[in-house]
């Protein structure tokens, strides 16, 4: 079911299910991300992409299934997930709005530094050295995303596109092996989207694997080595851009069924059959269903 490559597996989510009371937001989703890979996660609104992300990062504890990073199962605590090596950005920007740009990135370095309260109070040489290194690395990152000249601005004063960039820089500051991007181009114009694309490639070239949620299809198909499609909490298809783009069920899931009495009854029947195969039978045998769909 998964494309096995010679690369090492960075992230492995197997059989992840998330239920909120009676609502199953994510249903037995398997996903792997290999090193050096950019994997996309797409799906219509409400498909459970962000919920799945939250399961990966320990913000939610999955009802079933497990998530492991480089072979070790992740503890269900966000800060431990981050120190293990997974960093994330948020769909609706969550910067520390009243801290400066530099401070935001420094907070991202929290897991890679050790200085506690005592060393802060005593200010020994170790503390000064650690602060200097942190500052230096943070400035390097700001240089990398092109915000070094705004290091002393408050994060809230940055224009929207730069806030998105800063979120990425803050996530990178934790020196992750895997970066999760939740809709990094939401609300961006085409130029900004292209710049983000460049940035994501540059991050990949640093040896960081990337998992990205996105609505902008052009962006995602340009960018990703592999794309997984999530519909109503289940993984519909996974494969290269071409495979996913050609899949009729994906089209149906995005565009919906044609309205009643529309010409082309045959197509309608086809789409309905596809939907029936994917969605309605899921109650009886969800796992077999996904597995058959995914065989490529």
């Amino acid at each position: 079911m998964t494309t096995m490559t010679t690369n090492t597996t960075v992230l492995e989510a197997s059989d992840v299910t998330m239920r909120f009371g009676g609502l199953t937001a994510v249903r037995s989703v398997d996903l792997t991300v290999n090193s050096g890979e950019i994997v996309g996660l797409i799906g219509p609104n409400g498909a459970g992409k962000t919920t799945f992300f939250n399961c990966l990062t320990g913000l939610y504890v999955p009802t079933e299934g497990k998530v492991s990073y480089k072979g070790t199962v992740l503890p269900p605590k966000p800060h431990l997930v981050t120190s293990a090596g997974i960093a994330r950005t948020f769909q609706n920007i969550r910067l520390f709005a009243n801290m400066t740009v530099l401070e935001n990135v420094l907070v991202g370095r929290h897991t890679r530094t050790k200085e506690g309260l005592w060393s802060a109070l005593l200010r020994g040489p170790g503390f000064k050295k650690a602060e200097a290194t942190s500052n230096e690395k943070a400035m390097e990152l700001l240089e990398f995303i092109g915000l070094a000249h705004k290091a002393d601005h408050l994060a809230r004063n940055l224009p929207y596109g730069e806030q998105r960039k800063l979120e990425i820089a803050r996530a990178l500051a934790s020196e992750p092996g895997l970066l999760l991007l939740d809709e990094p181009t939401a609300g961006m114009n085409p130029q900004e989207t292209r710049a983000t694309e460049e940035l994501v490639f540059a991050i990949r070239d640093k040896g960081i694997a990337i998992l990205v949620i996105e609505h902008d299809m052009r962006f995602i198909f340009n960018l990703c080595d592999r794309v997984a499609v999530l519909v109503q909490g289940e993984k519909l298809v996974e494969g290269t851009s071409e495979v996913v783009q050609a899949d009729e069920r994906v089209v149906a899931a995005y565009l919906g069924t044609p309205f009643e009495g529309a010409p082309g009854d045959e197509e309608v029947a086809e789409v309905e059959a596809a939907e029936a195969a994917s969605a309605t039978t899921s109650k009886e045998a969800p796992s077999t269903n996904t597995r058959t769909e995914d065989g490529q």
Binding site: A87, N92, L121, N157, Q163
Partner: protein
Amino acid sequence: MTTDTTTPSTHTTPVLPLPTTAARAGVLTGAALALAGTFLAWTQSDAFPGNLTVTGYPGGLQVITLVGAALTLLLALSGMGIRGLGWLTPGGKNSPVRLTALGVLGTTAYAMTAISAQLGGTINLEPGAWISGTGALIAAVAAFGLPADLPADDTITGFRARFKHALKAPTPGRAKELPNSAEILIIAAAFGTGLYVFAYGIDAYSELFVGFFITTALVATALFRAGLIARLNRLTAKHRTITLTAALIAAACFPFTQTDESYALIGANILIFATVALGLNVVVGLAGLLDLGYVAFLGVGAYTAALVSGSPQSTFGIQFPFWAAVLAGAAASLIFGVLIGAPTLRLRGDYLAIVTLGFGEIFRITMNNLNGSAGPDVTNGSQGIPNIPDLELFGFNFGMPHDIAGFTLGRSGNYYLLMLLFTAVVVMVFRRSGESRIGRAWVAIREDETAATAMGINGFRVKLIAFALGATLAGFAGTVQAHVSYSITPEQYLFANTVPPNSAFLLAAVILGGMGTISGPLIGAALLYLIPAKLQFLEDFQLILFGLALILLMRFRPEGLVANKRAQLQFHENDQLDVPEQRTDTTAVGTAKAGA
């Protein structure tokens, strides 16, 4: 300011339609008259405090009027561009004049009303008072005939809007580079002036304090509008260590300016209050945890120190050396902080406020009940622990007056200096912890806890450290408080009371002064201690006036008196120029996706 894009016509028309030259002449004559009036008698009877009866020698409220009028004159002359005075008004030229003129008017009007009310009728006013009053009125009216400092557009209409606009001023430009030594001298002079004003305020009797307060508040605003405060801030930011040293020296000089023991005691109590407020600032200002029972930690420290102080009424009957008592007090508070924090800090938001509020009360009631009848005899219940002996460190008895360099330092003065040392330690702890990895983590948690944990911060642990550190600092200060106040009782540690420190006043001091700053809580605490202490005739209305003042402050200056850069930008959004509003509004997208 409202920058206009549609109407190009801006103007600086004054509130009152006077020719500028006439207005200037009015201000100068008015201020000069008010000044001259202070040299004449204001009343015949010396029943009114301050001796306002002597001609040729101003006293009491006359002195304050004199200073205010002189400042008005100086600022007005500086606004006219007189050579050598330009440095006084790098920012606004005319709005400072308006503010000081209002201050003089307020003080003289208050003085005249108070004399008439106390002595029975305006018949008691001598010509001097009338001259000063008329002068102040002329100056204030004429000052509003001076042009506005900022150009107004047509959107500012109505008297109120134009009145408010007339008091605004532009921020000053970059100052001329001065040699380092000159800058340091300026800082020293500023702290010297600050010390003098503070000492004057502490010594003032009720009537004088009201006049003092009116004038100081308006003159401080005037200096702010004139841009002098901004200039000074730039200097202090540049020489931070020197500023801290200067502040420390100025504060250490305070007891030497006091001849009266009771005023030195006010100083010591203000320091205790301010130190505890600064400790609370770690919890509230940096980590954003609302603690409504903070005074209990002060109590824990004070009780611990009292129990081991060797007081004959202490059930322990042992006497620790002072350093051990301090460590014991801080450690006891630390333990209580961890005990209270550990179960509650896992929760977010208001739960902590409720639990700490409860803890504050539980502490007080427990201390009341550990009296031998309702519970084991530890604290003597509501009797408290009296007769706490004075400290003696290295042969220096804190209870005795000592002669130092020709000045006599009484008991309160001694304790003031000891407390100052504690304050300095707390300031250092606050500053160092705030500017470190842990301090950044606190602010991050305060800003957005979810994002902070996603950045690898262990929210619970970091919050617990803040909470425990805050508790420790309060306990630390409490050990001195026990000795300063001779005896401690549970009723000193209430949630709300008319006498600080109590939890409500501590929180108010932090918020009033400015959250997350060092000088904010210190200034806030000084004001909150002095105002109730000086205005005792308000007795029954104290708390309601206090509430009213807080509401007004939150309405007009939510970031507190001393704003840090962050808060200033946070509360006054119009300073933001480069944030495209609609595109940052991701909440619409967010809510649409929340169902996922």
